[in-house]
Symmetry: C2
């Protein structure tokens, strides 16, 4: 019965669509619900870019597997990644803490050290926040305010058939890290250096703020978002917003050696982690084919690695994965948790910005 539907039954994206359909109400809202961040007209020459994202203990972080400082950094990092995906400059953060009664102050102080470190690294000022207590788990909910030149934000919706799909960095490492942290036991023979690499990718992601701004100012990027739910899921969002299809080349997916090593030790397909793993916080972007070099040269000069992974196609194509032999199969636009039996449409695994 729909009237008894709980959020889990409905699925997170449908829930958001239901709650927020028809929102608006001010002419100075350039982009409202539906992208990585909202874009707001403010003054001639500049627009506000605002986003919020909450980390809930045991859902988005594990206190047993990360230091307080790392959790603080990560809480800001996931928001920085949304600002990066708009091509914006992050400026101001508000930090809302929902605290379990038994949380110790020194732990909380260390969380705040992590927040401050991350803020300082990105020239962000923490300008306020809120503290409340709860009988439930710790929540770190951050709102981040950034700025773009007027009209300079890169949305999800500008992609066109023929645009080249690129992604920064590598994919799947964070998912391998999370799997290794939560596995009942780790198979022997995995190198410590590989384990540490994938775990750090999960625990302490580095948001692509500089790359986002470089790509936006290149003028060659037609659509961009950050890979937080998994490449396939987030590419699905880009294709929906741009009303296009896409073809991803499996052999082109950038997966590092440590991820392959850990994934295989755990009996997982590294490519599946890259496609559906999530928590990568890399940027997925579409480039106009005749303007590739302007964007890629700028990235290269800034020392940012990026790889081509496919291209956008006509909407009838849908979302396809191309094997090395050229054969294609439909790519389900879902994240890792959605692939697990019995957990379809699980809204609980990640928080979703809208």
């Amino acid at each position: 019965m729909e009237s008894d539907a709980v959020p889990q039954d409905l699925g997170e994206f449908e829930l958001i669509a239901r709650l927020t359909s028809g929102l608006g109400g001010r002419r100075d809202v350039a982009v409202g619900v539906g992208d990585d961040a909202a874009v707001l007209d403010w003054a001639p020459g500049g627009q506000l870019v605002v986003t919020c994202d909450a980390l809930v203990e045991d859902r988005h972080f594990l206190r047993a597997h990360a230091t307080a400082e790392q959790i603080g950094r990560r809480a800001l990092a996931v928001n920085l990644s949304d600002i990066a995906a708009m091509g914006a400059e992050p400026l101001f953060a508000l930090v809302s803490l929902i605290l379990p009664q038994a949380l110790e102050v020194p732990w909380l102080e260390r969380l705040y050290v992590g927040l401050r470190d991350e803020a300082r690294a990105f020239s962000v000022a923490i300008v306020g926040g809120n503290i409340a207590s709860t009988p439930g788990p710790l929540v770190v909910d951050i709102t981040l305010i950034g700025r773009v030149p007027a009209g300079g934000a890169v949305l999800r919706s500008g992609g066109r058939p023929g645009d080249r799909l690129w992604v920064t960095g590598t994919l799947g490492a964070a998912a391998a890290g999370l799997l290794s942290l939560t596995a009942p036991s780790m198979p022997t023979g995995v190198s410590q250096i590989a384990l540490e690499h994938v775990r750090m990718a999960y625990v302490d992601p580095r948001p692509r703020v500089a790359a986002g701004r470089i790509l936006a100012s290149s003028g060659a990027v037609t659509a961009m978002l950050d890979v937080s739910d998994g490449l396939a899921s987030d590419l699905g969002h880009l294709c929906d917003a741009s009303r296009v299809g896409a073809i991803v080349q499996a052999a082109a997916l950038p997966v590092d050696e440590a991820t392959v090593e850990v994934a295989e030790a755990l009996g997982r397909d590294p490519v599946a982690l890259a496609l559906h793993g999530g928590d990568d916080y890399e940027l997925l972007f579409a480039l106009q084919p005749d303007r590739l070099s302007s964007a890629l040269d700028a990235l290269r000069q800034a020392g940012v690695t990026a790889m081509p992974i496919g291209w956008l196609a006509e909407p009838e194509t849908g979302l396809m994965l191309e094997a090395p032999d050229g054969s294609r199969r439909p790519l389900p636009a879902v994240g890792w948790d959605h692939l697990r039996p019995g957990r379809a449409d699980d809204a609980s695994a990640r928080s979703t910005q809208y």
Copy 2:
């Protein structure tokens, strides 16, 4: 042992001070942590005013005693009140929902109806947000962005000895309402109309957005904040920020008849509710004595009631309550919960903006 201190032992304001001391880092932060909202330089002619405040189920609202729509409205109202206290115009809201698994979608849709209604009533656009799930209680965490003319925000810190203290509306009704809702049984003989009045004051507060802007533009207000923790507690914040003392005249406190009726039926002192009850969401403000009329005429024309309740004094005076016979006693700058035995420095009862 301090190293084992939990937030409750420390007290909410000391915890905030510890976590946020020395924050800053950008020259465009005009006012950071410590007021009702932060004030940020943005473009010539205007400043951003940003605040966030979270409502946690069973701490800040009771699902048994309020409709979903009312809870939605209230979640936005408490943030509107902070923007009002700066004299700012509210513009954009981000809504972060932390959802218990069993929450039903229709209930959530009604919460969102309340949010939309309140947003529409104040010309605020809901431009984004976040959804996450939790095994704990429902949290509605809202960030609100507003605007003031450059230099036009009214802070807590501008009060001077001799300034007159005024408050909008009446005090204590919300506290009486909460007490009546949570009392094991309500004494007979209380009129239904009085009960409904005080309960609505708690459940559905009306933020003083118009009054805040009128007061700010009058140029006569030296300090202002909203009364959320209770008059005495919030006056304490104003006095701390302005480095002044204050004298409050008990007989001048505006307490309406319904509040007196319900308080007395519950065996409570109505004046104590007005001083320490909290949840009033009225504006407490200090007026330059030679410019009273400009502010008060403007309020009157807008149909906003306000009452003089005392004046600011030299810092040595501290916070004093003056009885009708002219005798004075120290007024503890604490909210209702802090007066209850065994619950000193309870950080759990309300959420605190910083």
